[in-house]
Amino acid sequence: MEPERTILRMMNFTTLMLNPTPPPVGMTPRDEVYRKRTARLYRYASSRTHRTPLLFVPNLGISRPYIFDLLPGASFIEYMTREGFDFYLLDWGEFGPEDNDLTVEDCVVRILPRMVHKVLETSGASRLSMLGYCMGGPLSACFIALHPEAPLANFVNMAGPIDFSKTGLFGCWLGPKHFNVDRVVDTLGQMPPEMIMAGFKLLRPTMDVSAGLNLWWNLWNPEYVKGYQALNRWANEYVGMPGEFFRQWVRAFYQENRLLQGTLQLSGRTVRLEAIRCPVFAIGAQEDYIVPPASVRSLMEAVVSQDKTYVELPGGHISLIAGRSAPVHCWPRVSGWLAPRSS
């Protein structure tokens, strides 16, 4: 067995070196239904057996959203559309210097309401569900808390930080004593992708060694190699963050933990998580070092929803949304929780 695998490893290694082009990503058919500034709203083809549409709100900046539709057979979006969800993806887009004035406020009180309206308008539904992933979790929570009139059927928070006092290493490094966010933004204008990459690589210095080792071990398997190529491409494409957004994000969320404390002011209004009354499903990942599960779990105590569930799944931040464990541990839980609440 091992000699055959060694030969296959050598062959695949040669192919990888000679043809390093990663496989095409984001293949699930979709239509752009709306755009505002850099943001795009996409609706995916689906049998739409569930009446309530689902709006997926990912992180702003940092990485590209094709991770949610990575490869056919290994795509969260493909999975959800096959399960019959009317799936909408909000792509925040990529930012240039002209977007440096974009704030958290703009996202929550200007862009998200329009996206929600467009989802309802294009789907013809009277209610919708929101699924926030990573930074999209707190952004969605802010939106729902500030817009009690919005017809929210469900809120799913997937690895979205709520209690920023429990955000691990990032919380430590971005603390007010050592991280002068004003100086960073005033000097650089925006948070450049290179700095974001440096932060994430530093967070897990052994990640590249580990990924390389696993690649070598699984190099005999062409499917693994294909997945590695796609994931590796994504993992090395970082997206910058608008300066003012970053300033507000670091100061109000990381340094002052205002979201959980109920002192976050957006557009002159206070964001109170206890205003969230719809059914809530929160998912933390046991080995998530970007958003530790304790930070996600805090949502449970903060909302007044009667129907609320928290699960902690094996794996890390990304393994909720991509990779081999996601379709086994995470996606069926999301679909299984949403389906009976989406009629």
Binding site: R110, P113, L146, H178, T206, L213, R269
Partner: protein
């Protein structure tokens, strides 16, 4: 039985090397956080363990699997040790200081860019700042158009039938105050 004891010896050897490595690394980090020195203990131990493995005889699938398992555990242990070291106040302080120094270096670069912009402007060539300004104006116009669209939508819905706009008040169809 002999195989079992061989594995145990190897495991003990690996564990001892890992403990030594972590201690060496922790000592080194408390003195000078130099990236070159940072990885040296890790690399030295890799080579030492690999040499031990090779000395034991020809490579079999079992040995390869064990080796992979050892490396996985080793990397995980290093990850844990690094996480602990990087979660300290001293590390955050060092990182903050490094960032400050780097930002200080950006100042002359920006000064140079400003001088270049002035020169381009004097020649009548549009600068990045000019393009950014135009893009912002276009974005502002886009917002205004949407506001007008919203108001038209509201008027139409009052006149009967047509769906209302989305301004700030998601889904309700009536104009909100937040936009």
């Amino acid at each position: 039985m002999a195989e079992q004891s061989g594995t145990e010896t190897l495991f003990d050897l690996w564990k001892k090397q890992m403990d030594d490595g972590i201690q060496a690394w922790t000592r080194m980090v408390s003195q000078t956080p130099d990236p070159g020195q940072f990885w040296r203990p890790f690399m030295d131990q890799s080579i030492a363990t690999w040499t031990q493995m090779m000395a034991k005889g020809p490579v079999s699938p079992d040995v390869m699997a064990q080796w992979k398992q050892f490396l996985d555990q080793w990397i995980a242990a290093w990850g844990k040790a690094l996480e602990q070291a990087m979660g300290t106040e001293a590390f955050a302080q060092a990182l903050g200081r490094h960032l400050d120094q780097w930002l200080s270096l950006q100042a002359p670069v920006q000064k140079g860019a400003a001088a270049m912009n002035d020169a381009l402007r004097a020649m009548g060539v549009p600068t990045q700042a000019d393009l950014t300004r135009i893009a912002r104006r276009l974005s502002g116009l886009d917002d205004r158009l949407e506001e007008i669209e919203d108001r038209l939508g509201t008027l139409l819905s009052r006149l009967g039938g047509a769906p209302g706009p989305a301004r700030g008040d998601a889904g309700s169809g009536s104009p909100g105050a937040s936009d």
